[in-house]
Amino acid sequence: MNLQTALYRTHLDLGARIVPFGGWDMPVQYSGIINEVRAVRRAAGVFDVSHMGRLYISGPEAAAFLDRMLTGSASGLRVGRARYCLICNEAGGVIDDTILYRLADDRYLLVPNAGNRLAVVAWFRGWIDAEFAGDSSASGVSVEDRTVETALIALQGPNSAAVLDSLCALDGGEPASSSRPFSGRDGRFRVAHGPDVPDGFRDGSEGSIEVFVGRTGYTGEDGFELALDAADAVLVWQSLTDAGALPCGLGARDVLRLEAGLPLHGHEIDSDTSPIEAGLERFVRSAGDYIGRPVLQRQREQGTERKLVGLKLPGRSAPRAGYAIRFQGQEVGRITSGSYSPTLDSSIAMGYVLMRFTEPGRALEVDLRGRPTRAEVTTLPFYDRS
């Protein structure tokens, strides 16, 4: 039995096509994937990403604990800022990739993938158990999973700052658009629906909704991710769509992240793949005593056998996960994700190839279901808004 987000009924009312994903029933598309991708690249789209986890890590030892669990530094993250971090196992494989927000000196919000949420919680609690017999007061760190009682709504696209400013202000009164990329702060959302929209919501008066405003996303565009009580999700969603944001599903989200060269756990990264192979070494500390570091440090110094590359193919027919990548008939790698890209109007893919085939411009070949097709190695991302 899959979980359903607080917006499930809203998605049905909008005519969304629902698919199971990561243990949840989620909308894969509303008006059509190409239309939704274009809306995010040109204007603004809104996504229900409540299936992603909301884990609150708190306590005097929270920073030190996360420093041990994550490839990125938690103690070095300033309050109000956010960072992309990997959780690795002892072999350097990726248990999950996450966004970490520092809410206070002793409190963090970690957002894992839907399908990995329970594994991440178990992994963290297992480490606490092993060292402190599960006594969180002795360990000085607690892990609280607030996924089910909260919602997460992503607003993405070049118009997203203008859309959000019309509805939401940060605590202190500054507009949401004044926040910096990779930040996260509390704010207040004014509901555009209903009979009693309050004046003066910027002061935090009644009638407004408490939201946590992250300037983060997974599309390659400017955008925000709003964490809020599940009970408020429908009003916030409707206010955003009324303000012009187009409902977008997981199908568009997958295309957007692929165009932006962003990895998806289960495709580009998994527990048998290291962040060094995946081209994520800039998110891996060279110092610090975190899980997986000895292996990752060795890979950084000595290199890996294979590396993640981008591939561009002529035409619109795309390779899919698992397809072989060949050079002169020999298999030299495998596709991890592929799709038609509406933004580039061509077929794009990511995949792992042996190190000597990774240089940009190298011509390789992918068998598109019986049609051998030239695939050119290219740098990532495929799409860069700047």
Binding site: V28, I33, I34, D254, S317, A318
Partner: protein
């Protein structure tokens, strides 16, 4: 409601008589099928002159998310394929029953159409799929 000037298969293809004397039918996919597939970006089609057979694979249709097989509703020889779809595969989404036709086939036996579903039968069939 599917148009009642043609016949249907459980694989969501249609066949419509274009010239009964010449045993020519147009073949395409239904509105239900294009909606299930989502945005179509590529079709891998057979060539004029190729033989096709009832419910055998005749090509592939690729949407942004997935690749699906296309099955011929009829048995015969391909007279023509819709070349417009090479540059405009979205015609199948926008006009599945007319401009988005996929191929024209010379049937071996016009009576084969009698074995396919009527529009009413097909609509009842897809009504039971959800």
């Amino acid at each position: 409601m599917s148009p009642d000037d043609r016949k249907y298969t459980q694989e969501h293809e249609w066949a419509k008589i274009e010239d009964a004397g010449a045993r020519l039918v147009l073949v395409g996919i239904t509105d239900y099928a294009q909606d299930e597939l989502g945005d179509i970006v590529y079709l891998d089609l057979p060539s004029a002159g190729d033989a096709v057979a009832h419910l055998e694979k005749m090509g592939e249709v690729e949407s942004v998310k997935a690749v699906s097989d296309l099955f011929s509703p009829v048995t015969g020889r391909i007279d023509a394929v819709n070349e417009e779809l090479l540059d405009h595969p979205e015609l199948v989404n926008d006009h599945p029953f007319d401009a988005g036709w996929i191929m024209r086939v010379t049937l071996d036996d016009l009576a084969e159409l009698d074995s396919l579903m009527s529009a009413a039968e097909y609509d009842e069939y897809i009504g039971g799929l959800h």
